[in-house]
């Protein structure tokens, strides 16, 4: 039996008794970043495949979301900094071993690119509001010509952005729940899945909706597989990892994790989508919204639970 007491009163606000350095803005950003990555990836790949006329929601309507989501996400990130006036210091160096550093650079490239992408569809999206200035029209024409090039750039950038949201957490070896290699692919899959759900919400044609229901179903199955891998890996891990897993399996985050993320966020929408693909009529908004809520709750659970786990010595 061991008992540890801090006798000098280690009064470090936000650290004792449990770490609370990262609050809701980080979880929100991880969700919005993953969602944007998913949407940009699908827009990029559909355009590169030359199917952009066939899937208008993917390339056109849903692409309004990433610039807004990334802007909100970036605002959330800066809001959570305690020394925000020095944010520019991020762009004075590239540190490859720090995921946050290259994540900041990827965001610096991807966010403007997502704006340019939407702008290339400006006339089609807002036919009532014509562009007034000549240089804006020229810019739009230039962007329309270079749409394929932008799509080619978006595919790797969105994958890096999606993986980054997970790697950001898994780089911290001091937090056993985060410190596993599967988190990168898991967050990427979850981001792609929320992206597909948004497209399902915005799609007008059954053809487009069905394709993304199939894609989403596949992504959900992959995601469930990755979650099982994560839990198995933790159970085969060291003592600190076992303790970390207890929070999700039989601990204070179990209801949130199994109830909202796995059952309501993955399994139930997967069933809805399966039924829809089989040809039955279901309200598609239900699975899509469940997936989005599940994705958001998943980020909150991982960020909050991860900060509780630590090395005991």
């Amino acid at each position: 039996m061991q008992e540890e007491l801090f006798v000098s009163g280690r009064d470090l606000p936000h650290i004792d008794p449990s770490l609370e350095i990262w609050h809701w803005p980080i979880s929100l950003y991880l969700f919005l970043g993953g969602l944007s990555a998913g949407l940009l990836f699908f827009a990029g790949i559909i355009t590169v495949l030359g199917k952009d006329k066939e899937f208008p929601a993917t390339v056109k309507y849903a692409s309004i979301v990433p610039p807004i989501a990334l802007t909100l996400g970036l605002m959330a990130l800066v809001y959570d900094l305690t020394h925000p006036l020095y944010t520019w210091q991020l762009y004075t160096t590239i540190r490859l071993e720090s995921p946050m550093s290259w994540g900041a650079w990827v965001l610096l490239i991807t966010t403007p690119l997502s704006f340019l992408w939407v702008f290339s569809y400006y006339s089609e999206l807002f036919p009532k509001w014509q562009l007034k200035f000549e240089f804006l029209k020229n810019l739009e024409n230039f962007l329309i010509k270079n749409r394929r090039n932008m799509a080619i750039a978006l595919i790797p950038l969105s994958i890096i952005l999606g993986v980054y949201t997970g790697i950001l957490l898994s780089a911290f070896n001091a937090r056993p729940l985060w410190n596993n290699a599967i988190l990168g692919p898991l967050f990427l899959t979850s981001g792609l899945s929320t992206g597909a759900a948004t497209i399902i919400l915005m799609a007008k044609s059954t053809h487009e909706r069905h394709l993304f229901s199939k894609v989403d179903l596949a992504l959900i199955i992959i995601e469930l597989g990755l979650i099982v891998h994560m839990i198995m890996g933790m159970y085969a891990g060291s003592e600190v990892q076992l303790e970390a897993m207890q929070l999700l399996v039989g601990g204070e985050f179990t209801v949130m994790f199994f109830g909202f993320v796995i059952i309501l966020g993955l399994i139930v929408p997967a069933m809805f989508e399966l039924v829809e693909i089989l040809g039955f009529k279901v309200p598609v908004a239900v699975p899509a919204i469940l997936i989005l809520i599940g994705g958001l709750v998943f980020r909150f659970v991982m960020v909050e639970a991860g900060q509780i786990t630590r090395y005991l010595y």
């Binding site: 061991q2 540890e4 006798v7 770490l19 959570d80 305690t82 020095y86 946050m100 001091a174 937090r175």
Partner: protein
Amino acid sequence: MVIDTLKCVGCSDCVVACQTENDVPIGYCRDWITETVNGAYPTIELELKSERCNHCENAPCVRCCPTGASHKIEGGIVLVTEDECIGCGACIESCPYDARFQHPEGYVDKCTFCHHRLEKGQLPACVEVCPTKCMYFGDLDNPNSEVSRLLKNRKYKTLAPEAGTKPHVYYLI
């Protein structure tokens, strides 16, 4: 740094000395005392020790810092440059010892081994004031230094070596 847990009485003089020397804001501390009770009554054992940043060889805080504000200087001391720090908290998340905190002014702060005193040839404030002389500070690369000799002759441990950080504060047991 070497700390003799058998000589430490847990008086917290090191904590107060550090707070005074480094102008640590009220309600924060860069070092602290832990009291660990092992075993079940009547065979119990009490261990007292003063803890702080371990100035790890494989420092995760330096690796995770996105701006390079957390850096290591010659001799192995890990420092934070205040006006390069953006307060993102990555180093705090990465530290297995929870040795870092966000200063009320925004940047991240922690033990510097009293770097400003070392430059003048003085010992860190905590080592200087310890009434039981349980703390030793010196060059581990020099085999004849007091710290090297203590580690050669005494049993010692480091904190959470399984985290892979190679900490440089040694506790004699």
